[in-house]
């Protein structure tokens, strides 16, 4: 469900045409709010693909599971490398797990 | 106070000071004493108590030093350390405020004149009268 925008961190990609999240969202769900920060216009329509979270250079976006089906406040944070990705998974009890794997190029 | 070293001793504060001539010392010299770490001497300068807090010094300072605040701080410091006893006027003013929360101008004038010039009561009384007649003291 809804990508949460940290309005402190978001710089609206400096309000140039479209912020990166607006560009990337497969559902055309992001737009630039009047405060020149990214805004999800229809959180209900999000597919949780996390493309926006991955692309945000400010680390200002977070995908949340709707409370109705998932407790507060688990987190899943991707960090993009050049040819690998790491994920930090924090469960509702604060237990941290980390994943790292190659997402481009050869595996050796 | 860490900005005191910024003073370039241009003397603009002193040239503009309306009371420096009375005290024989100028604000620039007070600042210089502080630069020389002779704080005690600065605290004891009579200029501090002549200061009319007119801000001419601070306004003219090209380095933006809060000259007046420095002077006032030195006043407080001197008193707290017990080095300096504030002139009668200030003491009486303070006592009155502490006692009743308000200041009666004629009593303040009377008391401080008594302390400062105990030997010339008549002259002071005449001055007082003149002032009172013109509505300068209530």
């Amino acid at each position: 469900m809804p990508p949460k925008v940290d309005r402190e961190k978001c710089d609206g990609c400096k309000a140039e045409n479209e912020p990166l999240c607006e560009q990337i969202c497969p559902g055309d769900l992001f737009t630039l709010g009047e405060d020149k920060k990214a805004r999800c216009r229809m959180p209900r329509d999000c597919w949780d693909c996390m493309s926006c979270v991955k692309i945000c250079p400010k680390g200002a976006l977070e995908t949340r599971v709707p409370y109705q089906i998932g407790y507060h406040q688990a987190k899943l944070i991707p960090l993009m490398g050049t040819n690998s990705i790491t994920w930090t998974l924090i469960d509702l009890n604060g237990k941290v797990e980390r994943f790292h794997y190659i997402n481009r190029g050869s595996l050796d | 106070m860490e900005r005191i070293s910024a003073c370039v001793q241009c003397g603009r504060c002193s040239a503009g000071c309306p009371v420096a001539f009375e005290s024989g010392q100028s604000p620039r010299q007070i600042i210089r004493l502080l630069q020389l770490d002779q704080r005690g001497e600065a605290r004891r300068s009579p200029l501090l108590w002549f200061c009319a807090t007119c801000q001419a010094c601070s306004t003219r300072c090209p380095r933006g030093l809060p000259v007046l605040e420095i002077m006032l701080a030195l006043r407080r410091e001197g008193q707290e350390l017990g080095e300096v006893r504030a002139p009668a006027f200030y003491r009486i003013f303070r006592q009155m405020i502490e006692k009743s929360g308000r200041v009666s101008e004629w009593r303040l004038g009377f008391k401080s004149a008594l302390c400062r010039f105990p030997r010339r009561p008549l002259g002071q009384a005449l001055l007082f009268l003149q002032l009172w007649r013109r509505g300068k003291i209530r």
């Binding site: 400096k14 250079p57 | 241009c10 503009g16 620039r28």
Partner: protein
């Protein structure tokens, strides 16, 4: 798509004096790397790079045994250069050689750590090998250019630059706002130190320019727009009408005899001084609508202040014997194609009326030092004159800086005044007298004069007296005495500020300026740079300076643009390349480029102007999509190096640190540390980048993800970055990353930014040791296997 030649890599271990084999186990390394992918030969060179080896290697290259080289060992910069040029002569592209200097990476120090050093060397060679595989042959790029140059501002500085460029046989366009060249200097009375007439020097340089045919001077003109880049600027200039044909007018003056317009004297004080020189009504010449140019008679043709003409009056037109008057001349727009530009737009006097306490503008006998230059107008009965130095300068409320020339100007004026009228008494109120170097002589000369009193203080208040004189109250800080003085004339040494023309051209050319409004780049290293390639700045548009320095900087700037004034401009091939299939048009590269090198292409993609680019790689560092790569330090090459770091060669509790080094300061500092024999721990791996601004967050993420416990980014000190703001760029991005690490429950201290100077070798080594200690306390990076 280009045909890629499969890499065949030769690895040469330079084992000069058996140094290498003592530090690492070559018997283990050589067979290990002989088998590595793409490696076609792997050899130990016993004598390092000397004699026989050289011929042997060249012969092997020419036999086709390899097509790129990885050198392992330790090498001086000279050795590298020699190998590169020797092999280039034999046909190997210099960009296909990679240097793995083990000494810079902490090997060679401890002979008893040979085992561990060998393991580290293994990783280092793997890092370099990964990079070598990805190297690309590069050839210098050639951009079309032209030998024409445009100079904006025809003051003294501009004129000297023009003369220098004309002498170098370049086509020069000079753009001047006034009706004639000469600028502020033409308004001065005398020049220190020789107390000579400035018109003499101006005339000298103008004669020089007059002799050449390659200089085109456009007066009453201003630059309105610029397109293109270095080698190919297209400059649009708007030229206001002069209403007099420059070719025909011979300044005979017939027109002035018939002109019905009589202007009042442009004066407001008793001494014939103007308070606000205006550009429309210039000086005392301007007594009718048609007048000689100003401030000098170059070009000679007269100029008409058309708004002053009475309606339908065409008397001058009729009177002119040469038919030179063109009352209906329209403004024209000109476009010049030039390879480079010079900006010498000069200064304006600070508005002294703002220094309220001195009464400028209120009292007629308070004048500025610029007005004092016209001393001929001073009446004889002056007895006492006061000079206030730093009027508005070095003052938080006005100008923070020292205007550099005012002390000498005042001394010169006192000298001239005393020469003319020895009885005059002068007071000079000052904070410090600044006449550095040989200027001391001027000071001493004035100091020795009778009737000149230096008072080390500034007056607080100036008040008019009833007799018309001025009363000054000042504390003589030496004696501590309050002085009450009175003077007939008070001269304020006002400061220099960037001229209006300087602000104007800055906007048109998008030239960055410093807080004071002057042009500034990197003072110690590239003083005449403007942060815009192909545009150089000189003279007082760069800051207050005397005429001598103004001329020197302008000439230096002229020398600096010469490389751009060629038929073809050669550009080092290590330029950024954009992968448009990844680009999202987010324009961050454009925003953050310190040199404004990015433009839009027809489809809205960023496009780098190779001429403007300084190749710092800041764009590569900033691109969130990894769509930009600076050649020879491509994102792929850096990523491959980072990925090859295998922290597992050390025990898990031993932290491993990856350090990105700025090539300008940090790398030389580390290199020097190695030369000094300082102990660089085996825990640290160095990767050199053109500027730390080029380090993309993804690379830092990679480093942490592949297990490095800390990432150090070592760049220049603030304000010392050769690329203006590389360290600021990485700081902002680093802060974003640290915030993210924090949210990932990782210690943000695992990423550290540090600033080094070129000789901070010891400081660097100490820093590494303390950082490693800190990392050890933090425990291993959770991503470390």
């Amino acid at each position: 798509m280009s045909l890629k030649v499969t890499p065949k890599i030769a690895i040469f271990f330079a084992n000069e004096g058996d140094e290498l084999s003592q530090s690492v186990d070559l018997a283990a390394l050589v067979p290990r790397f002989s088998r590595a992918k793409n490696v076609s030969c792997c050899e130990v060179l016993p004598g390092g790079g000397a004699g026989k080896n050289r011929e042997d290697i060249i012969a092997k290259y020419q036999q086709g045994m390899f097509n790129r080289i990885l050198w392992v060992g330790r090498f001086s910069p000279e050795q590298r250069r020699n190998w590169e040029s020797d092999l280039a002569a034999a046909g190997l592209n210099p960009y296909l050689q990679e240097w793995c200097d083990l000494r810079e990476q902490g090997i060679y120090h401890e002979k008893d750590l040979r085992e561990l050093q060998t393991q580290k060397a293994m990783i280092l060679i793997q890092m370099s090998l990964a990079r070598t595989r990805l190297l690309e042959p590069l050839e210098p790029l050639c951009l079309p250019g032209t030998d024409a140059v445009l100079v904006v501002g025809g003051g003294t500085a501009g004129l000297h630059a023009v003369a220098a460029l004309a002498q170098a046989k370049k086509k020069v366009y000079l753009i001047e706002q006034q009706s004639a060249v000469g600028g502020k200097v033409a308004e001065l009375g005398r020049l220190y130190p020789r107390i000579c007439d400035p018109h003499c020097g101006l005339d000298f340089i103008i004669q020089k320019i007059r002799k050449t045919k390659s200089v085109e001077i456009h007066t009453l003109s201003r630059v309105v727009a610029v397109e293109g880049g270095p080698g190919n600027f297209f400059v649009r200039v708007l030229k206001a009408p002069r209403y007099v044909d420059e070719e025909r007018c011979n300044a005979c003056g017939e027109c002035r005899k018939v002109c019905p317009v009589v202007l009042p004297e442009e004066t407001s004080g008793p001494y014939g001084c103007q308070h606000a020189p205006e550009t429309v009504c210039e000086s005392t010449f301007r007594k009718c609508a048609i007048s000689p140019p100003w401030p000098l008679n170059f070009p000679t043709a007269y100029v008409i202040a058309r708004p002053l003409c009475p309606p339908h009056c065409r008397k001058c037109e009729k009177a002119c014997p040469s038919a030179a008057v063109l009352l209906d001349q329209p403004p024209t727009e000109l476009t010049f194609r030039v390879g480079a530009m010079l900006v010498t737009t000069g200064w304006d006097p600070y508005a002294l009326a703002k220094v309220e306490e001195y009464g400028y503008g209120r009292y007629p006998n308070v004048i500025s030092n610029l007005e004092m230059e016209q001393q001929d107008a001073l009446p004889g009965e002056i007895r006492e004159v006061g000079f206030i130095q730093c009027a508005g300068s070095r003052d938080e409320r006005h100008l923070d800086y020292c205007s550099a020339v005012c002390c000498s100007v005042t001394l010169k004026q006192v000298l001239a005044l005393k020469e003319k009228n020895p009885a005059v008494r002068c007071y000079i109120f000052y904070q410090d007298i600044r006449t550095p170097g040989l200027g001391e002589e001027l000071y001493q000369r004035v100091k020795a004069l009778e009737g000149v009193l230096f008072i080390r203080a500034n007056p607080a208040v100036v008040r008019p007296r009833q007799d018309g004189r001025l009363a000054l109250r000042v504390e003589d800080t030496f004696s501590g005495k309050e002085l009450d003085l009175s003077v007939d004339l008070l001269v304020l040494a006002g400061g220099l500020i960037p001229s209006e023309g300087t602000s104007e051209i800055a906007d048109v050319l998008k030239l960055p300026r410093n807080a004071e409004g002057f042009f500034e780049s990197h003072l110690p290293c590239h003083s005449e740079e403007s942060q815009r390639t192909g545009i150089r700045v000189g003279g007082t548009s760069r800051g207050p300076m005397g005429i001598d320095r103004a001329i020197e900087t302008a000439q230096q700037a002229a020398l600096d643009v010469l490389p751009f004034l060629q038929e073809t401009i050669e550009v080092t091939p290590t330029v950024p390349v954009l992968n448009l299939s990844k680009c999202d048009k987010c324009k961050r590269c454009m925003e953050e480029c310190p040199f404004g090198s990015f433009l839009f292409d027809a489809e809205g993609f960023s496009q780098v102007d190779l001429g403007r680019c300084r190749q710092c790689g800041g764009c590569m560092g900033t691109c969130p999509l990894l769509a930009v790569s600076r050649r020879h330090s491509t994102i792929e090459q850096l990523a491959a190096q980072v990925r090859a770091v295998k922290p597992s060669f050390l025990a898990r509790e031993e932290p491993v640190l990856l350090a990105f080094l700025c090539a300008n300061d940090a790398y030389p500092a580390v290199r020097r540390a190695a030369e000094l024999g300082l102990s660089i721990p085996l825990n640290v791996f160095h990767i050199t980048v053109p500027c730390i601004g080029a380090v993309n967050n993804a690379l830092i993420a990679d480093a942490l993800a592949f297990g490095s416990d800390g990432v150090l980014i070592a760049g220049c000190r603030d304000g010392q970055c050769h690329y203006i703001k590389g360290n600021q760029l990485i700081k902002t991005r680093g802060d974003d990353l640290k915030a993210k690490l924090q949210s990932m429950i990782m210690d943000p201290r695992r990423v550290r930014l540090t600033n080094l100077e070129i000789r901070d070798s010891r400081a660097y080594v100490e820093l590494i040791h303390s950082y490693l200690k800190e990392l050890k306390e933090m425990g291993p990076n959770p991503f470390r296997a």
